[in-house]
């Protein structure tokens, strides 16, 4: 990034549910490392990704570690802006009360502008 962008926050977009693939875990790893490198990191849960936030998750029956313990660690890394696409949540019959952490709901129509506010954007 150029110097004038150095104050810009990093966005990590999470679009996959836990357990079925490693996208969510590896995406969260990038978020944690970014924060450890002193970046301001925001997360955006989109599509299937909103399921990452569902309460009362456990390890996967096939030995997957799961991502819910990582979500509990986000605050320690100063990652406290968790953006959630409200439509993705509603489409899955979920509400904020079903989520393990406090989130900021956004509408799908806000997404195009939202992406312009971050650099870099990592998409998982």
């Amino acid at each position: 990034m150029n110097n004038e962008d150095s104050s810009t926050a990093m966005l990590v977009v999470l679009r996959h549910a836990p357990h079925g693939s490693s996208w969510l875990r590896e995406g969260l790893d990038v978020a944690l490392v970014g924060a450890a490198f002193g970046q301001t990191v925001n997360l955006l849960f989109l599509g299937e990704g909103v399921q990452a936030l569902m309460k009362d998750q456990q390890k996967g029956p096939l030995g997957q570690k799961g991502t819910h313990p990582t979500l509990d660690m986000l605050a320690m890394y100063d990652i406290d802006t968790l953006l959630v696409d409200a439509d993705s949540l509603a489409q899955r019959g979920l509400t904020e009360a079903d989520l393990q952490l406090p989130v900021t709901l956004i509408t799908t129509s806000q997404l195009p502008f939202l992406f312009t506010q971050y650099a870099p954007v990592f998409n998982f």
Binding site: E26, V30, A119, F122
Partner: protein, 130 residues
Amino acid sequence: MRYALLVQGAPYSHQAAHSALRFASALIDRGHRLETVFFYHDGVYNAQRLATPPQDEPHLIEAWQRLHHEQGTALLVCVAAALKRGVIDERESRRHDKQGHSLAAAFELTGVGQLVEAAMTHDRLVTFSP
């Protein structure tokens, strides 16, 4: 401009690596510099030393190596994503008491920190995912 690419698709399974290589040659033709390629998720399979594609298909691993030799492009492979997928260099192989190693020459194992660093220090970071 100084470019970095993030490649997350396995070669021959998905288009991501093919597209990334074509993008690489296009940006170099236009006078830009490709300084870094970071391989993450299944993209780490692009660094497999033993990959043996049929002769009438493009050899993607060799194409990455050419970029390194001709353009000085750093080929960085996420060590955590690589090791669990069996992409391992000589040093890690010894450390984990394995027989043999599978990381192709010109690629280097590194941490995700290098990806974050690349995003901050290059003018553009472009992602190729399946």
